[in-house]
Amino acid sequence: MTPTAPPHHLPLAEPADRYRAMRLVRGFEEQALDLVREGVIAGGIHPYIGQEAVAVGVCAALRDGDLITSTHRGHGHVLAKGASPHRMLAELAGRVTGLNRGRGGSMHAADFSLGILGANGIVGAGAPIAAGAAWAEARAGRDTVVTAFFGDGALNQGVLLETFNLAAIWRLPVLFVCENNGYATTLPAAGAVAGGAVERARAFGIPAQTVDGMDCEAVLAAAAGAVERARAGDGPSFLECRTYRFEGHHTMERRLKLGYRTAEEVAGWRERDPLPRAAAALDPGEADRIDAGIGQLLADARTFALASPAPDISGACDYLYADGLRPRAGVTL
């Protein structure tokens, strides 16, 4: 029997909500790491741990109906925009109850009903898609804002820079969010991004600022301004969020000794963990209560995902064509 995911709603209005959302992302990722180790999640993931304040802070500035595009490191964005953790986890486990019916996996998770236009396996590819959606929404007279998340590595993809230009000349309601976590896989951003991130956006006349990506409230404040601008028809903005991934680039990094960053560096950033910082601002005991609730939610999500069936192989080509065209099989016997 295929289970049904419970209704899910993730408020982000209050600091406690945002702490809860960050805890959800953190807990989701920790559980996902376990499931990768257990072999339940095939292929591994790009863990978002450490960057939670960015996804949550930005999504807190958005409203229902706003759209986002995400990246290979997309779990945080997808969850913060409100996707069901049950269905997200089922997706990672390749089950029919997954957001994408098990067809997408970690790098392609999407929930169009929530404005999540999808993670993307190609660095930089989400930004022009976001700009296109923004163009369509604006030209249709709607005041939708579209957020494109991407990493520091994406700053060196030509298509991203082309998109800056188009968004600028057409004053598109796009919020460009660069999560500068210091590295593109093993490559330090410091030596790879000549001139700096905000300078790059400003060159196209796009207002740009750097914020502390380990501080959810700071991210929210900056994003809110940018969103307001976009919503008012004043065009795109760019936010560089300085952040860090506590884990490796991808789970497969665990069996490689890449040595591109020092233990001290990691430890230093862990001290700036956005969660304790956000917890400290809450009423005493509230964080613990929230943590417990998230623990239960994620345990349920796990049960749900594992109880969900894998897709039937007769449907391996389902959805390939929207009009139902059935491709020729790989062999005729």
Binding site: N100, A110, L117, A136, E162, A322
Partner: protein, 320 residues
């Protein structure tokens, strides 16, 4: 009775689609000026919010068209040169084509990509003369190559209405074709071939401009050989049923294909025919050479494109 030109047919298909459906829009370079022909006058008629002149950022604006499609539009992107398909191959093959399956059917990408002037444009040389429709068949994007003005109208109309990405090649060598059109232009379904000429001895499959050459050769050979000319029209999905029916009668196959030989359209038609259909003689193809790059000098450019003499030879060869 009016002589409809191929370019005008494309122009009319675009205009009709823009008029009929608010969600249709056009992106491309110099589309406002109508430089390539198909968009002439459309910006004046529909405005700059429907017919959008883009900077030279093909990757971004093709992706933007994908994003617009995800937000409910039916964008048509005009690309001025066939090799701009190379430049945007990631966007087309890896994003537009894959999103429907990868999202588990949550979305589709009704994007049309129109390439006026595909194939050799005499004197435009190596980087402007490709005919890469076979690449799109391989990755699985719906692809059409109309040979006639009415098919240009009808296939472009269907492409725009289709919920999947479709590439429409308008060969430079076909864009000069004019046709007496006495009927109302209407959509031509994707995936259906047209028997351009009936015959009993040999089936010649052609696509785009070579359809006209094939018809001329068939006429010339008529006294000796009865040639059936199948205008495939759609590269993918190919109309296997029509081919199979034709080969049931003829048992002999020649494919003429103005693209590179290896792994091209002609290879696919021959392979499938050999695998699944009735063939009483080895099939033949007339193509560009393997890995062809069209040299600039006209003599050389022409020497690498399939021609009537070669087609005649191939037809005679399969009749042996």
């Amino acid at each position: 009775m009016s002589k409809l030109s191929y370019t005008k047919a494309l122009n009319r298909a675009l205009g009709d689609a823009l008029a009929a459906d608010e969600s249709v829009c056009v992106f491309g370079e110099d589309v406002g000026a109508g430089l390539a022909g198909p968009t002439l006058g459309l910006q004046a008629r529909f405005g700059t919010d429907r017919v959008v002149d883009t900077p030279l950022s093909e990757q971004a604006f093709v992706s933007m068209a994908i994003g617009a499609a995800l937000a409910g539009r039916r964008p048509v992107v005009e690309l001025q040169i066939p090799s701009l398909l190379f430049l945007t191959f990631e966007q087309l093959a890896n994003q537009a084509h894959k999103l429907s399956l990868m999202t588990g059917g949550q979305t589709s990408v009704p994007l049309t990509c129109l390439v006026p002037g595909s194939g050799s444009r005499e004197g435009w040389a190596g980087q402007h003369s490709d005919h890469p429709y076979s690449l799109f068949a391989h990755v699985g994007i719906k692809t059409v190559v109309p040979a006639t003005p009415s098919d240009a109208y009808g296939l472009l109309a269907s492409a725009i209405r289709d919920d999947d990405p479709v590439i429409v090649f308008a060969p430079a060598a076909a864009m000069g074709v004019r046709q007496d059109v006495t009927w109302d232009l209407e959509p031509v379904p994707l995936g259906r071939a047209r028997i351009a000429r009936q015959g009993d001895d040999v089936t010649v499959v052609a696509l785009g401009a070579p359809v006209h050459g094939a018809l001329a050769v068939a006429e010339e050979l008529a006294p000796e050989i009865s040639v059936e000319v199948v205008d495939a029209r759609t590269v993918h999905p190919f109309d296997w049923a029509t081919l199979s029916r034709s080969l049931e009668r003829t048992g002999r196959l020649v494919v003429i294909d103005d693209s590179n030989r290896a792994c091209g359209f002609a290879a696919e038609v021959m392979a499938t025919a050999a695998e699944e259909m009735r063939l009483t003689a080895p099939p033949r193809r007339v193509t560009r050479p393997d890995g062809a790059v069209l040299p600039f000098a006209l003599e050389l450019d022409r020497a690498l494109q399939p021609d009537a003499r070669q087609l005649t030879g191939a037809i005679r060869a399969v009749m042996k």
